[in-house]
Amino acid sequence: MASGSSDPRRRTLTATAVKIIIAGGFGVGKTTMVGSVSEVAPLRTEEVITEASAGVDDLSGVQNKKTTTVALDFGRITINPELILYLFGTPGQDRFWFMWDELSRGALGAVVLADTRRLDSCFAAVDFFESRNLPFVVGVNCFDDGYRYTAEEVSQALDLDPGVPMLLCDARDRESTKQVLVTLLEHLMSGSDDLAASIPFAR
């Protein structure tokens, strides 16, 4: 009954949307991963942020506000008529860090996509989600020309908390991306056991 009524004036809106963040360094395959499971070709929207110049962008005392346009790529999975899942890729460049707060607010969780050729490019994402207490899993995208490390080696290199799931994946492959998302959801549910006790019918 969410929509589709013949009389638009009698429509109601009971559907809800949730989101999962796909994070990682520039060029690691975030949009590819989104596209591999999205029911629509990845969409792009532009957020425009006005921010006071500060920090690394501080031009020695020049306090002008500046406007920055950040492109966000995302995809959609209609779980059922009442529930839509959106997958948002984070902007890859470090200078767009300020967008991460808005993106991750209200997110179910995150996938940190790692590239073994440039493992350091995902340190920042790991730190960010740890500091925000947003649950995440790490997917190690296996590029054809990337050196194949074991999941344990990558986990050590990233100094991950032992509870953080990590798996090898191929962001181009639908089944592989599904497995990453399933792992994230299972991780989220294992962490919500305390909560579940207070909710009838949970499991």
Partner: protein, 123 residues
């Protein structure tokens, strides 16, 4: 920006071309708290939308089914802040319903997580 701007344009305004001309220069629409995944749905049919200002009409046609603010923005190819302003106008005029996502502080409940998990497995 305070007060309502229901009639910021008239016939003399001419074609609406620039994103911020579309919004009458307004860039802020925080009062409704529209977010990337706030869902919107049109309360007017696509046919009724045809008689409206072009950008409003396009948005109404795009959200005949529940659609996120981000998706509307991507499909009308206007920056997100502009689309938020236009959607706010449509909401205030009763042409669009909106529903924000769960409050930030609310931990997603297990029903939702289970439904998402089942949905992904079925893909």
């Amino acid at each position: 920006m305070t007060g309502r701007h229901e009639a910021w344009f008239d016939e003399a305004a001419g074609p609406l071309v620039r994103p911020y001309a579309v919004t009458g220069g307004r860039t802020r629409s925080d009062t409704l708290g529209l977010d990337l995944i706030t869902l919107v749905v049109a309360m007017r049919s696509a046919a009724e939308a045809a008689g409206m200002e072009p950008e409003y009409g396009r948005i109404l046609r795009l959200c005949q089914h529940p659609t996120s603010v981000a998706e509307v923005a991507a499909r009308v190819d206007l920056p997100l802040p502009v689309v938020k302003v236009l959607l706010s106008d449509l909401i205030e005029q009763g042409h669009v319903l909106f529903r924000t996502a769960a409050p930030v502080t609310e931990t997603p409940n297990k029903h939702v997580l289970q439904a998402v998990l089942d949905g992904i497995r079925k893909l």
